[in-house]
């Protein structure tokens, strides 16, 4: 907390805080207001005398109804959910084992391997999708959820591995040594001692992985083509932008509804997730 005079607190704390909150929340407000605004208002020229971009006096559910009834939005949601959960689980499983091994086991090239995994995370997806598209075609996985379930881990596993590696390193080694003397094999010490303590780290890795797969765009755009297979991010943009016509109302409704699950997951696990990022192991 900022100490001192009231004006100092306002200038250095409250005003920046409000500006920050406003900047973060405004896009959501914009999505909401656009989603419920009738077309007549949406396409009104800015020079019109009754132009009011930040408010509507005739809210309507037309765009949302259109989105849910005339497009495959619910299918896209389901696809995204399935793909995200599957990709997250796979990545978390691999990341847990890899992160544990890299942080705890002494083997040759352990340090180099850790760096190499990190470097693969730095390869931009916009380059990686070209060779991946070839692989997907060879395995005849194109246009199936597997195309994404198997490709998302290419960037999620390095990410989870690194996050968990850092977390495992912060857990005192003695805990595990003590468990091993107490009669636990290495895998039991890992399962009963290290993983339960690492729950905040595991949850934050999971939340991040889930969000990254939920929001992923380029792989979904390239590997999926039939409307019934698409994810929300691709479905909304490809089906509601037709040529140069933007269905702004439904687009924003799709964006708003599409961000609800992520917001839900975050708010549910927020405490773990903060502890996971700050790496606090309470002894």
């Amino acid at each position: 907390m900022i100490e001192g005079a009231k004006w100092r607190r306002w200038i250095f704390f409250y005003i920046p805080l409000c500006a920050f909150i406003f900047t973060l929340l405004f896009p959501f407000y914009w999505m909401l207001v656009t989603a419920v605004r009738p077309d007549s208002e949406l396409y009104r020229p800015w020079s019109a005398p009754n132009y009011a971009p930040f408010w509507t006096s005739h809210p309507t559910l037309d765009h949302i109804t259109y989105l849910l009834q005339e497009t495959l939005f619910s299918t896209w949601m389901l696809n995204t959910l399935l793909i995200s959960i599957a990709a997250t689980l796979i990545s978390l499983f691999c990341g847990l084992l890899a992160g544990y091994a890299l942080s705890r086991l002494k083997f040759r090239f352990a340090g180099m391997l850790g760096t190499a995994i990190f470097i693969t995370y730095l390869v931009p997806q916009t380059l990686l999708f070209i060779p991946l598209a070839d692989i997907i075609r060879n395995f005849r996985l194109g246009d199936t959820p597997w195309a994404l379930i198997l490709t998302y881990p290419t960037f999620l596993i390095p990410f989870c591995t690194w996050l968990l590696m850092g977390y495992f390193k912060a857990i005192p080694r003695e805990l595990e040594e003590c468990a091993r003397i107490d009669g636990a094999a290495r895998w039991q010490a890992m399962l009963y001692i290290i993983f339960p303590i690492a729950v905040p780290g595991i949850l934050s890795a999971g939340i991040f992985a889930f969000t990254l797969s939920w929001n992923e765009f380029i792989y979904a755009l390239v590997f999926l083509s039939s409307p019934a297979e698409k994810t929300v991010s691709v479905g909304v943009t490809s089906e509601l932008i037709r040529g140069d016509v933007f269905y702004w109302g439904s687009l924003m409704a799709g964006a708003l509804l599409g961000s609800i699950p992520v917001a839900f997951v975050y708010s549910f696990f927020v405490e773990y997730y903060v502890a996971g990022l700050t790496g606090a192991v309470k002894g």
Binding site: E174, C178, A179, R180, I181, G183, Q188, G283
Partner: protein, 364 residues
């Protein structure tokens, strides 16, 4: 309960030779303390016994079995760590029961053992608490309890009291001693605190730079240190050292001389020092063997000293004094009235002098 034998034990870490040819035989039910300054290899030795570090060369036997390749879980040992290493996500009961669960003990047996250990340690009221809700002393008790419930062949302690405050440390030291007397389990205890080593150990192993300096009962180390290092390490305040020259006078009597000291050596001591006549050797005097000279003390066991610091401890007074070129500590009677810059005459019991060979530092 088992004897432990360590034969020619060596450990190298990335080219650093941390433990060098350690040989040690620990009897059944014995309490052995490894003591030495940090980095002397004592903890590494303990961790090799525990199976937490691989052995570069040599052998470790627990009972009559070579355990070199045995994983820690199969060695039937229990270890208490410096930072307690309590499992933070489990309550006290589960912390203590974990080792038993891993070894597939029955629920009733686990319950009985945990409750019995909790009673010995006086932590029955805390069984349902999480480690973070406990004080340092309570945590250490839980860590002890976790070791006790297992009824292992061997207890290993890795500086278990170092994180406690001075008063609690003394209290827990007594407690550990009592528990050992009661259970009779063989124990190896690592500490850098020589007071802990002296009070706890049936035998004490002094280590330095990976090499065992001396193994012996506490008073043996105190009264007959094998070399200058052991002499300086055991005893508090530490032994005073001064370089002296051994000289023989016309009557064949030996004297230890330097700028401030001129002491006649008794016949028994002189016998050992005869072949060092004319050489520089290190003279060691324990602070508690120094006293303020009275008129009864002969002149040839006393020397002049100037007081530099006076520390009044109540039961005694510690004086830091300048004797010739060197500084010495003297633990004198609390009735002594000494002030800074006072000139005193200090006397020493000539039978309580220690001599160490110049180059090798070994006791003469």
């Amino acid at each position: 309960m088992a004897p432990v034998v360590i034969r020619n034990l060596n450990k190298t870490f990335d080219g650093v030779h941390a433990v060098k040819d350690v040989n040690l035989e620990i009897n059944d039910k014995e309490f052995v303390v490894l003591v030495g300054p940090s980095g002397c290899g004592k903890t590494t030795t303990l961790r090799m016994v525990a199976g937490l570090e691989s052995i570069t060369s040599g052998e470790i036997l627990i009972g009559d079995k070579i355990v070199n390749e045995l994983p820690p879980m199969d060695r039937d040992i229990a270890m208490v760590f410096q930072n307690y290493a309590l499992y933070p996500h489990m309550n006290v009961y589960d912390n203590m029961a974990f080792g038993l669960k891993m070894r597939r003990f029955g629920r009733a047996e686990i319950d009985a053992r945990v409750k019995a250990a909790a009673e010995i340690l006086g932590i029955q009221a805390q069984l349902q608490r999480k480690p973070r809700q406990l004080s340092g002393g309570q945590r250490q008790r839980v860590a002890l309890g976790r070791a006790i419930v297992r009824h292992p062949k061997l207890f290993l302690f890795d500086e278990p009291l170092s994180n406690l405050d001075a008063k609690l440390r003394v209290q827990m030291r007594v407690e550990i001693k009592k528990i050992h007397a009661r259970l009779g389990t063989t124990a190896i205890y690592v500490t850098h605190d020589q007071v802990e080593a002296m009070t706890l150990g049936d035998r004490v192993v002094v280590m330095r730079d990976g090499v065992v300096q001396q193994v012996g009962e506490p008073l043996e180390l105190y009264n007959a240190p094998a070399n200058r290092f052991v002499a300086g390490f055991i005893g508090s305040p530490a032994m005073n050292f001064a370089t002296v020259t051994i000289a023989a006078d016309a009557n064949g009597l030996l004297w230890a001389n330097n700028e401030g000291i001129h002491i006649k050596l008794p016949a028994e001591v002189a016998g050992r020092l005869r072949k060092h006549v004319g050489e520089h050797v290190t003279l060691g005097i324990r602070p508690e063997d120094l006293r303020v000279a009275s008129s009864r003390d002969p002149a040839d066991v006393a020397f002049d000293a100037m007081v530099e610091v006076v520390e009044k401890l109540g039961s005694e007074i510690l004086l830091d004094v300048k004797v010739g070129p060197s500084t010495m500590a003297a633990a004198v009677e609390p009735t002594v009235r000494a002030k800074v810059r006072d000139q005193l005459r200090l006397a020493v019991n000539p039978d309580r002098l220690y001599f160490f060979d110049g180059p090798s530092q070994a006791a003469i």
